[in-house]
Symmetry: C3
Subunit: 355 residues, 3 copies
Amino acid sequence: MAENSDSEAAAISQHALSYRPASINGEFLGKHIISVDQFQRRDLDILFDAAAAIRKRIRTHDRGLTELCAGKVMASLFFEASTRTDMSFQSAMRRLGGDVIAVSNGVRFSSMYKGENLSDTIRATGCYADVIVLRHPEIGSSYEAGYYLDLLNGRIDNPTVAISGGDGIGEHPTQALLDIFTIFDQKKSLDNLAITLVGDLKHGRTVHSLAKLIAYYDASGVRLCMVAPESLAMPADITDLVEAHGIRVTQTEDLRDVIAETDVIYWTRIQEERFADGAEYDGIKDRFIMTPAVMARAKADAILMHPLPRKHEMGTRSDHDILDADPRSIYFEQMENGMFVRMALLVKVLRGVYV
Amino acid sequence: MAENSDSEAAAISQHALSYRPASINGEFLGKHIISVDQFQRRDLDILFDAAAAIRKRIRTHDRGLTELCAGKVMASLFFEASTRTDMSFQSAMRRLGGDVIAVSNGVRFSSMYKGENLSDTIRATGCYADVIVLRHPEIGSSYEAGYYLDLLNGRIDNPTVAISGGDGIGEHPTQALLDIFTIFDQKKSLDNLAITLVGDLKHGRTVHSLAKLIAYYDASGVRLCMVAPESLAMPADITDLVEAHGIRVTQTEDLRDVIAETDVIYWTRIQEERFADGAEYDGIKDRFIMTPAVMARAKADAILMHPLPRKHEMGTRSDHDILDADPRSIYFEQMENGMFVRMALLVKVLRGVYV
Amino acid sequence: MAENSDSEAAAISQHALSYRPASINGEFLGKHIISVDQFQRRDLDILFDAAAAIRKRIRTHDRGLTELCAGKVMASLFFEASTRTDMSFQSAMRRLGGDVIAVSNGVRFSSMYKGENLSDTIRATGCYADVIVLRHPEIGSSYEAGYYLDLLNGRIDNPTVAISGGDGIGEHPTQALLDIFTIFDQKKSLDNLAITLVGDLKHGRTVHSLAKLIAYYDASGVRLCMVAPESLAMPADITDLVEAHGIRVTQTEDLRDVIAETDVIYWTRIQEERFADGAEYDGIKDRFIMTPAVMARAKADAILMHPLPRKHEMGTRSDHDILDADPRSIYFEQMENGMFVRMALLVKVLRGVYV
């Protein structure tokens, strides 16, 4: 019998495919964080309060924060690189007094990377850690983590929680949570906001999850504008879901149609490789590059968000420097918020306490 | 003069080859942990007590544990990936309140990896750390670490202890210690146990070290059964040593001969590459795959151990799922015990205290 | 529009090129540590005092040290491997009670490594960390870090300090600081010392920075002897600067001319690749290998320093063993001092306190 092939090893088990993580329903303790579908408005409000409270305690150098996760261990299990997510979670755990373990040589070079089922890797790590942050290139991997940790938790007297750090082109729930917190935090409410999502809305998991969370929040009077090339439009299941929550959806290929009435601009990148026909890309690309000239058309109190990293979709290096100096550009604040939201999640799943 | 070649750099010094680490003799403080040959029954009993006590304190969320290694720094120096050993040691040190440093980009990419003698690397690390966990592909590397740290400790006023995390196909003492602790913990005694080791017993360092520790423990009435293809049988020096300690040894190629009377089944993998003749492998491979059907022949109170990771030697993915649900399969408990045993070792070599 | 090319991504911005880090002038709090040019004698004396005090507190197991940076987070951002610098900074931060975050898979495999401007990477990391230790292959990268962190610090309510861990063949200020501390610590004063720098003095950033710091210290009666092949001589701008501070400079190709009167021998490697003509290298190489026979000519109270790692420039493995046993060889003490000096820097830039 030969060694398992890579594809076998990587395949997601059938158990995982039918696994559904528990809804939060106001109680985070011991729950895996795998999908935005676990969240409702009440859960988001709890998280927003906690993130804001934590930020305030950090600003005032409140040393009591380091008691919140003292004695807890987080394992950072990144099967693909994602520097910001990785460092953000690490910093979050440390600032709560918890500890972090990671594979010294990187998962890429470990025995885990090839030939072992993720289900074993997850359970092995679950023997050492209280919470596992998993980043994996395969869709559904965090569901598999949840399923097998539940099995392990039935045997080992030390339950371990999984938090998804992104699974392939699937979900990346903590990114969506920090995004919606940033909007709420900047605007103090989602009611009556015009939110515009720009870029490759077909493949972008970030914008899918954010759109769903905005829907689940059930604010009143929200308008969601989707700006994308026709071939990269937001999938219908998501626009349907959003509209079912009473949100008015507009779709266009040209930001200029909507920028003047937009409160929140969420910018993402379009990759040339998505176009079979280079000429099609050439025809639309200029409409999908944010520059100081584009931003000049936006409202005085609009905010410009971006999940980062950014490349050509924000123009040249000097465009960057000008945009960065614009007080409406809040993508670094957004990034910092990622740490506060992850701190809030870690405290709540590990300790259940309010902060 | 050209740069040292890799092989030169990697060569183990003659000093190291003649180095013998100190016997434990009831006192761990300041001693390198390099070989199972340092241990006698008394030392193992001390370690078993400490590991069990630590487990209990973790289960009861005893925060006093984090005082035991507070202010101490462990360096994780892994020249080859070994995710479990690495994370297990890291988690152990963290839960004792100690800190861990590791090479951010992995040793593989560091200046240490090529062209520098291990003896310099070890001493440089010894300048920063109180304990070094070394994993290195070369047999004898942990002996070299011990030798050169002893030299450094004579000069720098901050003695550093080495713990082997495995050296090539040589020794991996902490694996053997966690294995024998798991047997003791599950069975409450080694007396009168029938322990069966299965797989490639010729090359497997895990089973060599475990067999030696079982011998050193000097329990009464122990039977050790070696199940391996004839070409991969346990080396005679180890069976001789074991028998010299009064253990009855059986050797067979077929687990079915002994499974019904076995208390402890220790399963390991056979690699096809070990066979010059593929037909020979095809002829025996089915006898060396653990499946639910095989386990059905085992005693109701037998335990099934495996050092993990596992691949084809435990059958298909659905075989795994069935075996994992069998209460006799204790390989995840075994893995968790690794953390407790390593915590016990760290406390004892760094602080000398009883826990 | 194509992705930014690597060279674009790596290019240092014009802003960075004109950036000058603040002089220390007796106050380290909140200041980036980027260049030895920030230091004057007073600053070095403060640092020497702090490093010596910290060493004493470590030797006496003073647990109060871990209060000094408690709650602070250091990000280890190594774009090229430098194991010693990395581990030294990590150990320094840990021993002060601070926390360390690093990219789990190494920067080399992260999204940061390719296609993103360093300016964004630095600011993203600045959102999570209180201090960033940056090692980057490009000259000027730490200036860029300082410039963009200053921009970020104007927006995010959590200022972040950069410390250079070496930028390419540019500067490596903490190496020079630990070197001059070691000389001061061993000799109790720089006055009237004869210090000899040996090796490739043209390309060696270590010796450039050390020579400058010796000059800035403005001790009296210092002699600096430069021993290098003519084609690898110390650049004139540095010898000019040194002489302008009243230091007598000697240059020679042969250590034997000066070794008998030297108090401090600072040894570095010459790389064969620097010579267009192999015959030229063959003609001089033996004069640039430190061996026990060479050391026999040195004063009884001379000290032999080396920044490590060492390769062929200290001869064979058995030469190493003999040199290492010589009490005048203080390169491991020098390495340990690196941790004390970095602890002193971290405390002072993060807390400003005296220790």
